[in-house]
Subunit: 213 residues, 2 copies
């Protein structure tokens, strides 16, 4: 287990915890006190770590993702969908009228962009409903005039994200990469955007100062 710990880059105590919770299959027993672990165990540990530590998924959702991987009945697209639900937070309660308005806005957008329109209770749809309502609620509904422009940027980002998993054979590795890309990528893009805003703001107000004087 010390070797597995080193290869996977997690402490032995963590491996024992994963085994106890049934997330990691037991190794092949070679003596009463020894078990052999293979590359599959290393990959599984990396996936669990990405789901829990990076994605912040609950133990239950991690179990759900791994069970789907092991059952081998669901398509990779669907299993990625389960993981994606786990890393999406919906923060806001909305009233019925706002919810209807936001759902209609989402459906129209999905149709224009040829996005798969999931059920209304899908967590990603719920999250989008929450954000749209929050924007309208603070009196900045004008911002949604640019919804299609931001959706265009989201499409470019998703195409770039997909390059990260294209060609990978292992389903476990695909999910691991997708979670890391999505969660840390959100934070990365958010910060890069602020630096780019500084560039845009500096140039804009410099032009204004010249025009004004």
């Amino acid at each position: 287990m010390a070797e597995l710990s080193e290869k996977a880059g997690v402490p032995v105590a963590t491996i024992k915890y994963y085994l106890r919770e049934g997330l990691l299959p037991a190794g092949e027993r070679t003596s009463p006190n020894q078990a052999k672990y293979d590359e599959g165990h290393v990959q599984r540990i990396k996936l669990i770590r990405a789901l829990m530590d990076v994605g912040g998924l609950s133990l239950a959702t991690v179990g759900e993702v791994l069970a789907a991987v092991d059952a081998g009945k669901e398509s990779p697209h669907r299993i990625l969908g389960i993981a994606q639900q786990g890393i999406t937070s919906t923060r806001q309660a909305v009233d019925e009228e706002s919810r209807e308005w936001a759902l209609a806005t989402v459906r129209d957008l999905a149709e224009r962009r040829d996005w798969p329109c999931k059920e209304d209770d899908d967590l990603v749809i719920q999250a989008l409903v929450g954000v749209l309502c929050a924007i309208r609620e603070v009196g900045h509904g004008w911002y949604l005039d640019k919804l299609d422009d931001y959706a265009e940027i989201a499409d470019r980002t998703a195409d770039l994200d997909l390059e990260g998993i294209a060609g990978i054979e292992s389903l476990e590795r695909i999910i691991e990469v997708a979670v890391v890309e999505t969660v840390l990528g959100d934070r990365l893009l958010s910060v890069l955007r602020r630096l780019a805003q500084q560039r845009a703001s500096k140039a804009y107000f410099a032009r204004q100062a010249v025009d004004g004087g």
Copy 2:
């Protein structure tokens, strides 16, 4: 004050709180129990609300932004910078070696993209250092090969963001819009990206299934 409350869309108790904390200037007293408020008060309340409720800025940082607005000595670009610091969270402690590596990566990137490179202790730079270290720390350093592609997307987003403030005369309104765009825009982009990922993933695995069989 009831009229101001209605126009600005916040409860009277909130207005009293802003007055007490010195965020909102007192109205023009017309009788011992009456004061007159103007459009400037409405705009100021909307800005405070955006900074506190949307941006999550502390009372101290809100005070700092408003003082800079009132002093009229700093450029709009600089005041936007103060607000931006307030809405940027740095989450991670990093060791000295990682910090040096990340700072060098940031400086190289800023040079390639012609981004203004601020001081190392700038909160946005610190946040980027934290994200870069987090990505490397979970063993996904390969992701940073795509740093320039994501930076390109950030630049497009920032140009789109700037359209939201272009042409606005009031500095207070500019800051209000910038905060709402940045904070709620982060959440909006994050969710739109997930929907776009579903589109990309569905198409990719459908192609794979055809190629495979």
